[in-house]
């Protein structure tokens, strides 16, 4: 699904060059659920941004589902993002003046889907995350956990190849975190490929594989026995 070879990225900081990613080789198979861990400054955010086509690497190759991702202009990047990727962020990033349903329907709008079909599909995904009764509510009428569920529904709505989650539980208490992880695990069980950046070990343990980043390099890549969030909840 994802093939990355010798990825390099550096930023100009004043006169100096800050080498953030120093040759990353990484591949993810379809249906995997990978946690990316690392302390701050390890380059994990930059890595995720490149994966999410929000930023471009200096050198190295990135192939997503057989499509080489290179020399993106804004338009093609936007199109690829819409087709291939779903984003889940720490701060949910819902549009505050739109209802939960409209938020979920947003990526479909940019696919050019008709309003009625859009609404139906968005409703379907809201049901999936258990918020069908909250469809007409605005984000600020929802709890943190509910907001993240709406964000997950939105990420799923365009039926992307890969879900990219950036600290999806960072703003939630542990019970809610586990509920959200439970949902993400269910989605993974259905075969969706998921990449999850986190610095919390218990959250990482809920994935199937953990990649450790340090100083711009992958220092450790391990498979783990997945801890089911549902079990953690019942403890």
């Amino acid at each position: 699904m994802i093939e990355i070879n010798n990825l390099n990225k550096s930023y100009a900081v004043g006169q100096n060059k800050l080498h953030v990613l120093k040759g990353i080789n990484f591949s993810v198979k379809s249906g995997e659920m990978v946690a990316i861990m690392g302390s701050s400054g390890s380059g994990k955010s930059t890595f995720l941004n490149i994966l999410g086509m929000l930023d471009e690497a200096d050198t190295g190759s990135y192939v997503l589902d057989g499509t080489p991702i290179k020399q993106l202009n804004e338009t093609t990047a936007a199109r690829y993002r819409n087709q291939f990727l779903g984003f889940i962020c720490q701060s949910f990033n819902l549009i505050s003046y739109k209802s939960a349903l409209d938020n979920v329907a947003m990526p479909l709008y940019y696919q050019g889907m008709k309003r009625q079909e859009r609404t139906e599909r968005a409703m379907h995904y809201l049901e999936k995350v258990g918020l069908a009764n909250w469809a007409e509510h605005l984000p600020n009428e929802l709890s943190g956990g509910q907001k993240q569920r709406v964000a997950i529904a939105r990420a799923l709505a365009s039926d992307p190849k890969v879900l990219l989650a950036d600290e999806p539980t960072g703003a939630l208490d542990s019970t809610t975190s586990y509920e959200v992880m439970d949902l993400i695990q269910e989605i993974n069980d259905e075969g969706k490929t998921i990449l999850c950046v986190t610095h919390e070990r218990d959250i990482a343990q809920m994935c199937r594989r953990i990649v450790h980043l340090k100083d711009g390099l992958i220092v450790k890549d391990e498979s783990v026995d997945q801890v089911r969030a549902k079990n953690a909840l019942n403890v």
Partner: protein
């Protein structure tokens, strides 16, 4: 571009930010409102001045004489320069090709006129038939002075409409006998003058008759001409002023009058005056457009400014949209369309208010120099075009700014 979906988006944003939209709209609406009022007033001024000129033919040249005030060629000041029939003949023979209508005039002010028991004092003018066209008179009844009247020195009179109302009330004046300074005249016609009542208080009689009954011999009070108009206004003005200059020169030479003695010989070209006034109107119009456009620019800057704030405020939202796959042009389109929509709506409201006010108040305005202030269709359409352009301009920079928002920065957690 004009999909229902987009409109839905725009109405939603506007609805969510009513105060902001209202304030923006207010600045544009007042700009257009002021422009429309200014244009209406300038049209009113134009009409007012035009109607002032309509009382006489616009291409008129008038010649008067008076008393010399300057010594010239050893002649003392204080001489009265008397125009005679021969002067008229001389000018006509010299410049016949350039003249359209012509008449010598002998007139008396305060002529006592009576009909039965009604009487009044009016200006009595002895003139040629051409006087009708030079004074821009329209016949209401009967006829004007004819050449045969001049030849036979008949005692006929053409009276103004106002005179008819004063002397005859509801009687038919044609064929009636009136008394002018103790001499009987037959009324043959009634005229009306676009200049109104003041100009309709004159009575025209044949020049030959006037000179005879008032014992004027071959003396004249003034001369009046119109120059032949060509299609080119500037050319006509040039001809008119050259002609009046030449006539002026001829008369001064003949009567030995100092070239700068304005009171002894006066030759006046209405066309030249008209050109000056029309030039002034153009200037006023230009200034009004300038002020109006300036006001609109202030409005545009306002809209642009507010849209920039909007973009700033919505940076995160736009970032999210882009992350979800919004194409750059769809962001530009969204901001631009909102700006155009807001300016256009506000502008139309201002336009309608302005036109409405003019329609309401316009007919009540009746000053000498402003008449029926109005905005014609073409002007209204121009302002509409200005509006659409303004909206596009106002939205363009903010839209560009929005399109360049990088989702990575917008999505970064605080």
């Amino acid at each position: 571009m004009f999909s229902l979906e987009r409109w839905h988006e725009i109405f939603e944003t506007i609805n969510k930010n009513r105060l902001r939209t209202f304030l923006t709209a207010l600045s544009v609406a007042s700009g257009i409102f002021i422009l429309v009022i200014l244009l209406g007033v300038s049209t009113g001024i134009q009409k007012g001045v035009q109607s002032e000129f309509e009382q006489d033919a616009a291409n008129r040249i008038s010649v008067w004489t008076g008393t010399t005030t300057k010594e010239y060629n050893g002649l003392n000041p204080g001489r009265y320069i008397q125009l005679k029939n021969e002067d008229y003949v001389l000018i006509e023979s010299n410049y016949d090709d350039y003249l359209e209508y012509r008449t010598p005039i002998y007139s008396i002010w305060g002529g006592a006129v009576s009909y039965k028991d009604q009487n009044g004092t009016y200006r009595v003018e002895g003139a040629f038939p051409d006087q009708q066209f030079i004074e821009n008179e329209t016949m209401v009844q009967g006829r004007f002075i004819a050449q045969s009247d001049l030849d036979q020195t008949t005692k006929v009179a053409v009276i103004g409409h106002q005179m008819k109302r004063d002397l005859f009330k509801n009687e038919d004046p044609i064929g009636a006998q009136i008394d002018i300074q103790g001499i009987n005249f037959i009324v043959v016609g009634v005229y009306s003058d676009p200049g109104g009542n003041r100009e309709e208080n004159r009575i025209f009689i044949p020049l030959s008759t006037a000179q005879k009954v008032f014992n004027a011999q071959d003396r004249l009070r003034s001369l009046a001409y119109t120059v032949k108009m060509s299609d080119d206004f500037d050319q006509a003005v040039a001809l008119s002023s050259a002609l009046s200059e030449q006539i002026d020169k001829d008369l001064r030479q003949k009567y030995s009058v100092a070239p700068d003695d304005r009171s002894a010989v006066r030759v006046n070209s209405t066309l030249e005056e008209a050109k000056r006034i029309y030039g002034l109107i153009d200037t006023i119009r230009g200034v009004f457009w300038f002020i109006g456009i300036g006001t609109i620019i202030a409005g545009i800057v306002g809209v642009s400014n507010i849209m920039l704030i909007v973009v700033k405020e919505r940076t995160k939202e736009i970032g999210i949209r882009k992350a979800l796959g919004a194409l750059p042009w769809s962001i530009i389109g969204m901001i631009l369309q909102e700006a155009i929509f807001v300016t256009a709506m506000a502008g139309f409201i201002g336009l309608f208010l302005g036109v409405g006010l003019l329609e309401l108040v316009g007919p009540m305005v009746d000053s000498a120099f402003i008449k029926y202030p109005q905005v014609d269709f073409a002007t209204a359409m121009t302002t509409v075009v200005v509006l659409i352009l303004a909206g596009t301009l106002a939205g363009f920079i903010p839209a560009q700014r929005a399109a360049h928002i990088r989702p990575i920065e917008a999505l970064r957690d605080e």
